[in-house]
């Protein structure tokens, strides 16, 4: 466990966490580490803010047995995960500064070596299934009112295991289970539509009996509303979040190569300057 004191108190809520501020933190982590996966780490920021905002993060920070669970199935969104967790006071900001560096606990894929992380991921098509098990376990333990939120990618859902998990969640009517799909329409090397065209994506999930919502994935309020609607229903849900890979980093938006490329000093400065135009630094 990190010995540093938390920067924010755990009761910080979604409306207090600015996606632009999180983006700034995450870009700093990626730049310092020379790390890749910028595109996805930018597309999921609002989804991350909405997910952590929808649960009692103090229970996550204290590892309470009846905590809601958040599992990041697309594990390469590690920087966004850790950055968001820092803004919610689950881990200290000082820890995020070690991201991807020698001796750190913060690998380039989500790791349960980091306090507050439920499950290590990286290989795709794993986290969602574990999340389904968590949802079932919470229900069996009498905590079926706790949420299990999992974030997966629109490329990741090409893995067959994803559909095994969704079939089972649907059959079991695990209404505390919600999968948020980062529909940034780019997978590893090209557009998902060119690889496996799943459009219209919501219909695929609806066909599995899931409670499907489609929202602007950069609208925290819309994502939060969808989470609340699914929670109030009697079926597990999927929120198709339409996003932009590389969101708010103008030279990276929609560019598949930013799955692999890392920021040099000039590009990092350009990215920060653009974020400053969206929201002044505090």
């Amino acid at each position: 466990m990190p010995s540093e004191t938390l920067t924010h108190p755990p009761e910080v809520r979604a409306n207090a966490v600015s996606p632009v501020a999180v983006r700034r933190t995450v870009l700093g982590m990626l730049h310092k580490a020379g790390a890749s996966h910028l595109g996805s780490n930018m597309s999921v920021i609002e989804m991350m803010v909405a997910m952590f905002g929808a649960v009692d993060t103090s229970k996550i920070a204290s590892h309470a047995p009846d905590r809601s669970r958040i599992l990041i199935s697309k594990g390469h969104c590690a920087a966004a995960t850790y950055g968001t967790m820092a803004h919610y006071g689950i881990i200290p900001f000082s820890l995020t500064e070690t991201y991807h560096l020698d001796g750190s606990r913060l690998a380039g894929h989500v790791s349960h070596a980091v306090p507050g992380v439920e499950h290590s991921t990286g290989a795709l098509g794993h986290g969602l299934n574990v999340a389904v098990g968590c949802a079932m376990g919470l229900r069996s333990r009498g905590h079926g009112d706790r949420l299990v939120l999992t974030l997966c990618g629109d490329g990741e859902i090409q893995e067959g295991s994803i559909w095994e998990g969704l079939m089972f969640a649907s059959h079991q009517k695990l209404n505390n289970f919600i999968a948020l799909v980062d529909n940034n329409r780019i997978s590893s090397i090209t557009n998902t539509e060119k690889v496996i065209d799943m459009r219209p994506l919501p219909n695929r999930f609806a066909g599995f009996g899931l409670n499907v919502h489609e929202v602007d994935g950069h609208d925290v309020g819309a994502i939060t509303a969808a989470i609340n609607e699914i929670k109030a229903g009697d079926r597990p849900g999927v929120i198709v979040c339409n996003t932009i890979k590389g969101k708010d980093v103008p030279f990276a938006e929609w560019q598949p190569i930013w799955h692999y490329r890392s920021l040099n000093d000039d590009l990092y400065a350009q990215a920060l300057a653009h974020l400053d135009t969206l929201e002044p630094r505090q």
Binding site: E118, T121, V130, G133, A135, G137, L138, G160, E164
Partner: protein, 292 residues
């Protein structure tokens, strides 16, 4: 053996609220009682073994002790990455229960010949591997697993073998001579015991826990013998033969180690395990021939 293991889990569920039984739609006329008695601690994930392991990991996240049940080849090969990541990396105390071993499913063809699965699992650290060779060991196994609190795989042979009468992880049945030692587990262990009945000079070492091995104790059991035959219904390089090679490499063992085992897949059709045991020389005649 399957019955003893299933009954032990079911009985322990009454006092242990953390046990959760998960099946990938296997176990007809056997596992129904779990759902009837403990509906909140039972899940049938369907024909979806990857999900079985993922769901088990999620249950373990909630503090449950999942027992995940299906046929051995599906339990291991189908979801190898899930086992590596969800069980190996996280160390969750999940027990994979694999029914059928070796040529138990003889006429069903090579996809159902289970001759390479625990060796594959051996490549993932931290998972205990058991193959009960008698109903006596099978009956004691679940308590061993529950108290160990570690990830485990149980390879369950078909059959109700009454010997050896021991709950130890390995048991040596010394013969009248120190010349020959037969080392085995599961179904072929019965063949070795039959060989000893015919020729009391033979010694037999039956191994119920395949990993981790107690290297020192195993080395001591091997040490007196000049000829050591490892008889198994599994590929030798990744099987017990390979494990014993590692033991011997680190200890002054004088005996020569030989393997009697299948070494490849086959499309040959045989109606019973005996057909394949004969083909690969792990039947009584094969043992006798090898030792001649």
């Amino acid at each position: 053996m399957r019955g003893q293991i299933i009954d032990a889990i079911y009985e322990r569920m009454a006092a242990n609220p953390d046990i959760f039984f998960v099946t990938a739609d296997m176990g007809i006329n056997l596992i129904e009682k779990f759902e009837e008695t403990y509906p909140d601690r039972f899940a049938n994930v369907g024909i979806a073994e990857q999900n079985m392991v993922g769901v088990s990991a999620g249950l373990a996240n909630l503090g449950y002790r999942p027992f995940a049940y299906t046929i051995s080849n599906f339990a291991i090969h189908r979801c190898f990455e899930q086992i590596r990541n969800e069980i190996g990396i996280h160390g969750y105390p999940i027990t994979l229960l694999g029914t059928s071993t070796g040529y138990d499913n003889a006429p069903l063809g090579p996809t159902h010949h289970i001759i390479d699965e625990w060796g594959a699992l051996k490549g993932i650290p931290g998972i205990d591997i058991y193959c009960p060779s008698s109903v006596i060991y099978a009956g004691a196994l679940i308590d061993k697993i529950l108290s160990a609190g570690r990830p485990a795989y149980v390879r369950i042979p078909k059959g109700e073998f009454k010997t050896p009468d021991s709950t130890d992880d390995f048991v040596k049945l010394p013969g009248a001579s120190s010349d020959v030692l037969l080392v085995s587990y599961g179904t072929p262990a019965q063949t070795c015991l039959q060989a000893q009945e015919k020729d009391p000079r033979l010694s037999v070492l039956v191994v119920n826990k395949l990993r981790p091995l107690d290297d020192e104790a195993i080395a001591a059991a091997l040490a007196p013998h000049d000829q050591i035959y490892v008889v198994e219904d599994h590929f030798p390089s990744s099987g017990l033969y390979g494990s014993l090679c590692e033991v011997i490499a680190g200890h002054p063992i004088k005996g020569r180690l030989r393997s009697l085992a299948p070494r490849d897949y086959t499309l040959d059709v045989g109606t019973s395990p005996a057909f394949f045991h004969q083909k690969y020389g792990i039947d009584l005649a094969g043992l006798t021939r090898a030792m001649a």
